[in-house]
């Protein structure tokens, strides 16, 4: 029998941490900082609204684009919060999570052989989605020296005549880095000079701790060439509902909508109902969760620095990204040994691409009790390593 698996499916990399996952499943008493999802349940008002809608029999397909009331609420909020105006009838698509939004956005702009620049370290699906769309992912490193922000010069180094689009994600998974308006301006110049499309995944936008989130589309003339991806999973603790959205100028949105129609029909109706209820009435719950993440961030960053793992203060998302330089271990070795010896699960930074090696992703969307215990275990583990190497002293807890 011939090999029926496609070249594309064969060549995209499998999940880099599958091995850990299998190992963790066999162990007791593991504290996992490996999970990129809130430990909270969805705000009760959203759940309650959804249950009511289900009782009323709201179980059908919605329009391809999504519930009109949800599209309108999304565009109203963007206009109110950021002065960013989109037409709810032509420039918004409710997607099945940001994952689907990303996939259809990439497919909407990528021709075979097109190069799609991906700012890394990044969420693991960007590269493979580009490959599946027939494009060529080109990583652009965001490095610790730049506090993991995307530097225009580093971007320029990777731009070629075949460059078609740039994918960015700020606040960033896995580094927690945030781009200010002036940082984005530098990127906007490159994007405009080289006539690129910007795909901006802003799913952690609500989780900005030091300053309000700046959507890419608000910078210069970027709105006309930006597909903004966002969703409810992180800010509203709604990962399992699978609801996100995409905003783009009508021409790009139309292209993405065609793909969405064929592959997805519509996002889950019940999820859309819950998302609408969340936007309407769970803002206070969302703000309380964001405030709690900020406190946990301070707790984990102080603890990691105390343990001797230099950790910059992440300004957004819910990940700390400490360096393990000086421990004498690679990030994969560190994560494996930490799991085996102290039963704390973290994700090695190299999983997230260029610029991630030598770091660990520690998700702090876990209870403070677990977080404190995890930090104690990490401290003990690093202290035990000191026979092999001397840890780098902790960096001070500062924001600049």
């Amino acid at each position: 029998m011939r090999d029926h698996v496609s070249h594309a499916a064969r060549t995209i990399p499998p999940s880099g941490i599958r091995r850990f996952f299998d190992l963790v499943q066999t162990m007791d008493d593991v504290i996992s900082l490996g999970v990129g999802e809130p430990d909270y349940s969805t705000p009760w008002k959203a759940i309650d609204a959804c249950m009511y809608a289900l009782e009323q029999g709201q179980t059908s397909y919605t329009s391809n684009r999504g519930l009109p009331a949800l599209c309108e609420r999304i565009t109203d909020d963007l206009a109110r919060d950021f002065g960013l105006c989109y037409d709810p009838e032509t420039e918004v698509i409710v997607t099945t999570g940001v994952s689907e939004g990303l996939d259809i956005a990439i497919r909407a702009v990528t021709d075979p052989g097109d190069e799609v620049l991906v700012a890394q370290p990044s969420y693991v699906s960007y590269g493979p989605c580009v490959t599946l769309a027939g494009g060529v992912p080109v990583p652009v490193p965001c490095v610790a020296a730049d506090r993991f922000r995307l530097d225009p010069d580093r971007l320029m180094e990777r731009v070629t005549p075949r460059s078609k689009a740039l994918v960015i994600n700020f606040p960033n998974n896995p580094t927690g880095a945030v781009m200010t308006a002036s940082d984005l301006k530098g990127i906007a110049d490159v994007v405009e000079d080289h006539d690129l499309v910007l795909l901006s995944d802003e799913v952690y936008g609500e989780l900005s701790y030091e300053s309000p989130h700046v959507p890419s589309a608000t910078i210069g003339a970027l709105r006309e060439r930006t597909i903004t991806l966002n969703g409810f999973s992180k800010a509203y603790a709604m990962t399992g509902w699978r609801v996100g959205y995409l905003c783009a100028p009508a021409e790009l949105a139309d292209a993405a909508l065609k793909i969405h129609q064929y592959v997805m029909l519509c996002a889950p109706h019940m999820g859309q109902v819950a998302a609408l209820a969340a936007l309407r009435s769970a803002r206070a719950e969302k703000d309380a969760m964001v405030e709690e993440y900020r406190l946990r961030r301070n707790l984990v960053v102080a603890g990691l620095n105390r343990a001797g793992l230099s950790c910059h203060l992440p300004e957004g998302a819910f990940y700390a990204f400490p360096s393990i330089e000086g421990t004498g271990l690679s990030d994969v070795e560190f994560a494996e040994q930490l799991l085996a010896e102290e039963r704390v699960a973290v994700v090695p930074g190299s999983v997230f691409g260029e610029g991630g090696a030598g770091h660990l992703r520690c998700a702090y969307a876990v209870s403070r009790e677990d977080l404190s215990e995890a930090v104690r275990r990490i401290e003990r583990f690093v202290a035990g390593l000191s026979g092999q190497a001397i840890p780098v002293p902790g960096a001070p807890l500062t924001v600049d």
Binding site: S32, G34, N173, L295, N298, R368, S372
Partner: protein
């Protein structure tokens, strides 16, 4: 009270046993300053007491509690204050609140059994001057106290130990 105090109060209200070092890390303050702020909040009467939330259904002491609603004639110059304070002084009374609506005072009373509560209300509360009417509601079951759910959820919504 500044923003830091507000956060501190919220954190302690949720869990009064958080170690000072953790509060200090979360608030990005020296531990000594956290202790000083807590002391100042106590002196100012913002924080009255550090206590525990107890699920009475699990203490096996057979205790009961009731909500009393009272219609009260207010006094010239004092309004409801003096009578509310008199009621509040009984050990059996757990809380006293002035409310809007049909009744004026909302009182939570705890006792060892139903008879004790009945006796307390009829002997000490109802005969008080200025109390025009009482309605006593025995609490059958408590589902949430001071922001704490007293029932366990069917499942904690188990999360996979890894995800991207």
């Amino acid at each position: 009270m500044d923003e830091t105090d507000t956060t501190l109060v919220r954190l302690l209200e949720e869990n009064s046993r958080i170690p000072t070092v953790e509060l200090a890390a979360m608030l990005n303050l020296p531990a000594a300053e956290v202790e000083e702020r807590v002391r100042a909040l106590q002196v100012a009467g913002v924080i009255r007491r550090f206590t525990a939330i107890v699920d009475r259904a699990r203490t096996d002491d057979g205790g009961v509690a009731a909500i009393l609603e009272l219609k009260v004639s207010p006094e010239r110059d004092h309004g409801y204050d003096r009578i509310a304070e008199r009621i509040a002084r009984f050990d059996e009374v757990r809380s006293v609140r002035l409310i809007t609506g049909t009744y004026d005072l909302h009182v939570l009373v705890a006792g060892t059994d139903m008879q004790e509560i009945a006796r307390f209300v009829s002997e000490h509360i109802a005969p008080m001057e200025r109390i025009r009417e009482t309605a006593t509601h025995i609490i059958m079951k408590s589902y949430k106290e001071n922001g704490t759910l007293l029932f366990s959820r069917e499942s904690g919504g188990e999360r996979q130990p890894f995800s991207f």
